[in-house]
Symmetry: C2
Subunit: 342 residues, 2 copies
């Protein structure tokens, strides 16, 4: 269709149901039913329609289908990061329960930015998906309102959200930080540092729990918090550990907000001849792949992210089907995995 040919048609050029139907020698509605697998079509017609569709490379126009049926087979999942393996695990696990039910998983990455998340919410709600999964509860008021107003079933993950009517699957981030502190304390460590990056709400909640436990033990030292807003990474772990050694060589225990930071610190310790755990004990967070193989193997807090994804997906499924959700708030807990670094 060149520019010089002025036509009235607004066709996109893609094959349509009508063309498929024509090729198969049936009406469009029969073709529609055949393709959707509605039972009331003769087997031989179904085959002819499918063949025709295959031959033309036909793909249903979802906008038209959605407009006509006001239905969607999509579930949107909004995460703050994909560099953090944690969310990739959650995503895979959501995928594994929803895909077999015929849902398509749409992934939105907000890059830890509230505004970007709001845009994603607006975008996805413009053609409302069957359901939604969102990470955490730290979002703009506008995003919150749009989700509420849309009526789209939504499950919050990773944190225990307060508030009435909120469906959530997660674990107590604060409690996890507390557990890390108690473990280091039990190991006899008295000068414990908290090292964290990214500084998203969940990281800070872990820090809160850690701090509180140290305060209760009368061993909290505010100068022992090493925080960086940069993304969490192995390299940053190296740097932060070097900083600690320089500024506070007396530290004898460290809790890292994420395992990759701990991996970096372990490597830096190796290079500098600092012995772990005898000189400094280290505890990570998440139990990322690799943490079981570090040198020394990393003690860490394992988060139930696959389970979070699975349960969230199941809860969402129930909501989509209009079933009663017996347990709208699920706390999956966490597990301290003691290995060699502490």
């Amino acid at each position: 269709m060149t520019n010089t040919t002025h036509r009235k048609t607004r066709s996109t050029g893609r094959p349509t149901l009508e063309q498929v139907a024509h090729l198969a020698g049936v009406s469009t509605i029969t073709a529609s039913r055949a393709l959707r697998g509605v039972n009331t079509v003769a087997p031989d017609l179904v085959q002819r329609v499918k063949d025709a569709a295959q031959e033309l490379g036909y793909v249903t126009n979802a906008a038209a289908r959605a407009l006509a049926s006001s239905r969607s087979d999509a579930v949107a999942v909004l995460v703050p990061s994909l560099s953090n393996l944690v969310f990739v695990d959650v995503l895979d696990s959501i995928h594994s329960v929803l895909r077999p039910q015929g849902f398509e998983i749409l992934i939105g990455n907000s890059h830890y930015a509230r505004d970007a998340e709001e845009d994603l919410v607006r975008h996805y709600l413009a053609s409302p998906p069957s359901g939604m999964v969102v990470a955490g509860s730290d979002r703009t008021e506008a995003a919150r309102r749009m989700i509420d107003a849309s009526g789209v079933p939504c499950v919050h993950i990773m944190e225990m959200s307060r508030g009435p009517g909120v469906h959530c699957v997660g674990f107590a981030q604060t409690g996890a930080g507390q557990a890390a502190a108690e473990h280091l304390l039990a190991r006899g460590r008295r000068r414990n540092a908290f090292v964290a990056a990214q500084l998203d709400p969940r990281i800070m909640q872990r820090g809160d729990g850690f701090r509180r436990a140290l305060q209760e033990a009368g061993l909290y030292d505010p100068a022992l918090e090493f925080l960086s807003p940069a993304p969490s990474s192995v390299g940053l772990g190296c740097d932060l550990f070097a900083q600690i050694l320089e500024r506070r060589p007396d530290v004898d225990g460290i809790f890292f907000g994420n395992d990759d930071l701990a991996h970096g610190a372990l490597l830096e310790a190796l290079r500098r001849g600092v012995s772990v755990p005898s000189d400094i004990a280290m505890v990570g967070f998440n139990d990322l792949p690799g943490s079981a193989h570090s040198f020394p193997r990393l003690t860490t807090i394992r988060t139930p992210r696959a389970e979070v994804g699975r349960r969230a997906a199941q809860m969402l499924l129930a909501m989509i089907r209009g079933e009663q959700v017996r347990e709208p708030v699920i706390d999956l807990g966490f597990e301290l995995v003691v290995r060699e670094s502490s």
Copy 2:
């Protein structure tokens, strides 16, 4: 709308443009233009329409808009994995050029499965995005046909695809494998192993290049290939390295298909007292974050994934705008980064 009330209407209950227009006392088309910010509407009318929309809580029905305008502000990116950081980097980089242009990035993860990728292609083409980015060229015939038939601009990434009319941004995987071999050879290594996991097409291309270079040097030993179809991981790197030590303790050089495998091997070497590079030299692939910090620091082949994403996004942008693409095939090369492990 209860079940007992049989109506002909198929309305969704959401406020429509028509209602907004009625409230504002204008025609629907004027309301449409006012809301879209098309210039040819009187300022006072625009205000009245916007007020009406606000009052009714109107949200554009994206399906209807897409159907009527056959336009979309979405770009779909299909990757085989999100656990492999490489694709996350590409995604972020695509995001950073396309987001500012007003596009929404939709992510599809095929989990290295051709069938799953075909489903994703079908899904995303069902409401055709403005453009598409797909990884590699190993896909089902049906997927290939659907993409062609859709007319949606598409850029292939990560490999140098052959075939006429294919737009691609990548680098020569084969050449990278070859470079790894030549480096080990130059270091005087004579019994070089190839260790790889996942075994996707790109990994195998690297292996091909590696093998070819060894053959040319007359130093190829087929028993020195250690392949596992399992996903690439640090843990698997540990296992594979242990296997090599047991079966072929004479190996003096190893090329890993992905850095995480090398990280595992490095850790296992540390535990077993195998010295790297003096006993065994190691070369990784990708230069993942962390490779610069391993112990010893990993020699590896850095892949230009951020650049791949950037250039692919720019090329796609040109295609979407109907501009001439001067260079439809871009080979970005790769870089051997020599550090301590070889």
